[in-house]
């Protein structure tokens, strides 16, 4: 028990001092996950909205697949990206394995389906309300997608934050494609896994607390944004 409380004390001391090794790990985590969320949003938002608006053969199959991909296991994504990027793989010549770029690729693949599927769901509801009016006005397809994304902006912020939460919390994919190399590809989740198995509970716990606070902060932000939106736009 004393081990436990000591570990907590050390963890808090570590967070308060925020020494450079810790800062480096937190910084890299945020950098990778934010870029991954940005890329996934650029693909997922228009894709999700388009799936809500346009009717074409195979659409339902695509929606089902997309929903299924939301539960994509991170280690499997890691494995696939590993195979693609490894020396003998199709993209091996790029030399990206065990770099932050590889981690960004893996996380982007992981969360694009989440953002696209959630975007499709919420856009679908809005489109049911808007479709007759838009068709009456003769709104062009590209204008329709942009307008739906804009009018749905508050619930999409929640969607994007959900993607960010998933990216920053997963360990399987970044562990496999990043390799947890000190000062290069070590992020919060991989460090926690490594330091726990090494018995260095203070650092693991300190990072764990930061990760928890991040998750809490992200969710609080999502909640407040939604509240404000409901108040303003009804």
């Amino acid at each position: 028990m004393s081990d436990f409380s000591e570990a907590f004390a050390a963890a808090f001391a570590l967070i308060i001092s925020f020494e450079s090794s810790l800062a480096e790990i937190v910084g890299l985590s945020l950098q990778i996950s934010l870029i991954a969320v940005l890329l996934a949003s650029l693909i997922g938002l228009p894709l999700g909205a388009a799936l809500a608006v346009f009717r074409f053969p195979g659409r339902l199959t695509l929606v089902v697949i997309l929903n299924a991909l939301m539960g994509l296991p991170p280690v499997v994504v890691g494995l696939i990206v590993y195979l693609l990027l490894s020396r003998s793989g199709p993209l091996g010549t790029l030399g990206l394995l065990f770099t932050p770029t590889a981690m960004i690729i893996a996380q982007t693949i992981l969360i694009t389906p989440i953002i696209a599927a959630l975007t499709r769901q919420s856009t679908d509801t809005l489109w049911k309300e808007y479709s007759e009016q838009f068709r009456s006005l003769g709104t062009r397809p590209d204008e329709t997608v942009i307008a739906l994304l804009w009018d749905n902006r508050f619930s999409l912020v929640t969607t994007i934050l959900a993607g960010f939460g998933r990216a920053s919390a997963e360990v399987g994919a970044v562990m496999i494609v990043g390799g947890n190399i000190d000062h290069v590809t070590r992020v919060m989740t991989t460090t926690i896994a490594l330091e726990t198995s090494k018995g260095n509970l203070a650092l693991a716990l300190g990072l764990g607390i930061i990760l928890l606070c991040l998750a809490l902060g992200v969710n609080a932000a999502a909640f407040l944004i939604n509240e404000a939106a409901v108040k303003r736009h009804g």
Partner: protein
């Protein structure tokens, strides 16, 4: 809230006077048009023509097919049978000359001004033109002081006025109105009718559905009476209200309920209550 106070008393505003110009898309001719959903025929073999220069009110009880007829005319749904054609010179490009206001106003989650801009953008107007028209429309419909307000926080009456302004700003030759005052109180209804009157005065053809007889009398030049998907009577308004030819129309005008089999209502004395001896 005084809905009528600042409505269409609109001196000095340039309205689009297309009264004198020739129609671009009218008349609209429906030939034997039927529409069905899941085997249920909602519009049955309807043949009629809508001409420019008069306002047409579609009357009938709930479920008569009023909304369906408007949607068919506006092109939102396609008939399963029969043909529908705009016979004016620009008939091939008819959707450009029409607009529609729905029973429940569809408000974009943006400001009042942005809602008006959105409609105009779909017509490819420049920013300067959009600004000018938006300003005019806000003034005519009495929404200027609400220009920056989020549209969805307006009262339902104000929302419907905005929907009407958005439709009118497109300068349509034909404006379809689907029971636009069905959810409004008398003051808001009055305000909306005033605006509709102004739109009519600029030469826009109004095609409006309602089950409000008073409203029909106030706005109609011509009446279509629908019942269970059929057009039972089409007549000039004065003739229709004075002496309807169809017995169901007559019953409707008298405020009688139209039952499926036109059965007589039992007088209250004949209805047995529980506990009666």
């Amino acid at each position: 809230m005084d809905e009528s106070r600042d409505s269409s008393a609109n001196k000095g505003i340039r309205l689009n006077q297309n009264q004198t110009t020739e129609p671009n898309i009218l008349p609209l001719v429906l030939d034997n048009v039927s529409y069905e959903v899941n085997g249920m025929r909602l519009i049955k073999e309807m043949t009629l023509a809508l001409k420019s220069g008069s306002s047409t009110i579609i009357l009938g009880p709930n479920g008569a097919g009023k909304s369906m007829l408007l949607r068919l005319c506006h092109g939102l749904i396609k008939p399963n049978d029969g043909t529908l054609s705009w016979q004016g010179p620009s008939g091939d490009n008819a959707s450009f000359y029409q607009a529609m206001v729905f029973q429940r106003p569809v408000m974009l989650r943006r400001s009042v001004t942005a809602n008006l801009h959105f409609g105009l953008k779909s017509r490819g107007l420049s920013r300067t033109e959009r600004n000018q028209i938006t300003e005019d429309m806000l003034q005519i419909t009495g929404l200027t002081r609400l220009a920056k307000t989020p549209a969805r926080s307006l009262s339902i009456g104000e929302q419907q006025r905005l929907a009407l302004a958005r439709a009118w700003s497109l300068k349509p030759e034909v404006l379809f109105l689907d029971e636009p005052t069905a959810n409004l109180d008398p003051a808001a209804t009055h305000s909306l009718e005033e605006i509709i009157g102004t739109i009519k005065a600029t030469g826009t053809k109004i095609v409006m559905s309602t089950h409000d007889l008073g409203q029909a009398k106030r706005l109609a030049d011509e009446v279509l009476f629908l019942y269970r998907g059929r057009l039972l009577e089409k007549a000039p308004a004065d003739k229709f209200f004075e002496a309807p030819q169809n017995d169901l129309a007559e019953a409707f005008l008298k405020g009688e309920l139209l039952w499926w089999h036109r059965q007589e209502l039992k007088p209250p004395s004949e209805i047995k209550h529980r506990g009666d001896q």
